[in-house]
Symmetry: C2
Subunit: 350 residues, 2 copies
Amino acid sequence: MKVKREKKNPIIRPADIVPFSDDFEVIGVFNPGVTLFRGKVLLFLRVAQRPKDRKDGYLRVPVYNETTKSMEIVKFEKNDKTIDFSDKRVIVMPDGKRFLTSYSSFLVATSENGVDFDIRQGKYITPSCPEESFGIEDARITKLEDTYYINYSAASEQGIVTNLICTKDFETFERMGTVMYPDNKDMSIFPEKVGGKYLALHRPSTSEFGKPEIWLAQSPDLLCWGNHKHLMSVREGKWDETRIGSSSVPIRTEQGWLEIYHGADRNNRYCLGAVLLDEKDPSRVLARLEEPFLFPEEKYEKEGFFKDVVFACGNVVRGDEIDIYYGASDEFVAKATVSVRELLDALLKK
Amino acid sequence: MKVKREKKNPIIRPADIVPFSDDFEVIGVFNPGVTLFRGKVLLFLRVAQRPKDRKDGYLRVPVYNETTKSMEIVKFEKNDKTIDFSDKRVIVMPDGKRFLTSYSSFLVATSENGVDFDIRQGKYITPSCPEESFGIEDARITKLEDTYYINYSAASEQGIVTNLICTKDFETFERMGTVMYPDNKDMSIFPEKVGGKYLALHRPSTSEFGKPEIWLAQSPDLLCWGNHKHLMSVREGKWDETRIGSSSVPIRTEQGWLEIYHGADRNNRYCLGAVLLDEKDPSRVLARLEEPFLFPEEKYEKEGFFKDVVFACGNVVRGDEIDIYYGASDEFVAKATVSVRELLDALLKK
């Protein structure tokens, strides 16, 4: 199956983004939510930044403080041997308490041609409640009638939850609270009701039994979710052996719901695969690709901040083509195009 | 504060229960859901049983099989050094996959005097879907109008979920699906709507950030839950330092919602404490006891199957008295009575 990577990849880089202030540096712009808005491709960019290193022996991380309703800086002594700095994304304290090394917010970017983006510099959508104190990440956008529903992961010392906001104009946003309790990521709301209910894919992470796998849920109102059903498992020994999660609002086709999902293996290599769900009963998996159709090959996918990662949150479907805007190595936004027909043929082994 | 333990404690023991068949033994009857039904105290007993040891070198555990819609026996070689049998409740395979050493089902028991129970021998409510394949546990019962809603933990290789069933007569039960995805335990639905919404306490277990703590959720229909809010944390160095969860349907008092909860420390010693929530906005914690009011003291609490555990799922309120029916050491049902007034005085430091 052909995957056409955009020649200008990566199409958005950290250097393209103006940080919060001169004291900050942008270390990643990646994993965008994607939709079509007023004829343009709109990306809801995840921008990860951190305070610049002052070379004074301290590592600084921003945390949202509910009391002051603003971001504050927490600092850690780099020589403190009781603190675990081994994962460059996470700081683990002696008591197991965790902090993130960067602080993610959202930024809107739009494009006429789907490649060259106007970034709304400085207009950050930032954490604004205790459940978001470590940052907000990985948006998915579902349009229902005239409203865009944007769900995203929010991290705090209480765990990782899925929060929901909505907008009609991408200027003002209404916060709709925590729709999925911890730990939960990778929610994707279906673009229409099925059997009279809103549906969504989501990805709980369990603590003992079970693995990070994809579940299906239904809702009467988009706020409250239930009738949870386990949908898909990881596959031992394969590219998606340790964790999987939705990487696309499900795409309606004549053969059923086409869903692009990400999986990781034991080396934290993230790839994109596809699965086909029954049109009327999406709890039925009709077919699943054995191999990923998009995997880290290019330098920007293999050598960035967190290497060997392609990770998508959304796409734009134009006729037979799916333009996937994906995060490359937790650092860049890249674009690749695949054919709906070819994906379905591969799934149905035609 | 006085705690009156019933003189006949433990009031129900494994020897009182008739197992599935002669091949099985009951190893625990504990953690009952509790309600008043037609003037009697009704317990929804958790009965844990396992196949009798055949002394042939194998440990056998029952697992529900969705294909055959029945329980089947899985066996493990006891001297297989690659299998971890160190926790007597759990079997951990080399790949991390887990099984439970016993299989829990429910049994109804009723009593006129609240002490001597008629047990509906043999009429088991058993696992009946893939999410329940390792057993069903720890019911909580909330009466809303003329219907009793019973939520409980269900374990399977997909994790630990909260499932809901309802009944009007405790003879026939309607299954309402998985209301909380994994990992989730200790749900308690409020006995009336607050602000026009159903409310519930629940206890997610997170995988990375966060600890097993109590959250509040709301629902329009009891099936779908949202607007999740973190309610209460564990307390470092105290009796409830590692995990907490609801142990009572919230009790309405003039001072607010009185909630009995359980907590465990680093030694897995489980005790019962209390907290007071605002009447109109139960996301506000008004007061919390520093110390547990019920903790393992008696032999049946300190020396049973899993020692040093008192764990409740429900109670009956009679005027000023709360009759708590609790699990003792994961083996017995015991009863203790406390005063609403004394609990409130202790909470409000009167």
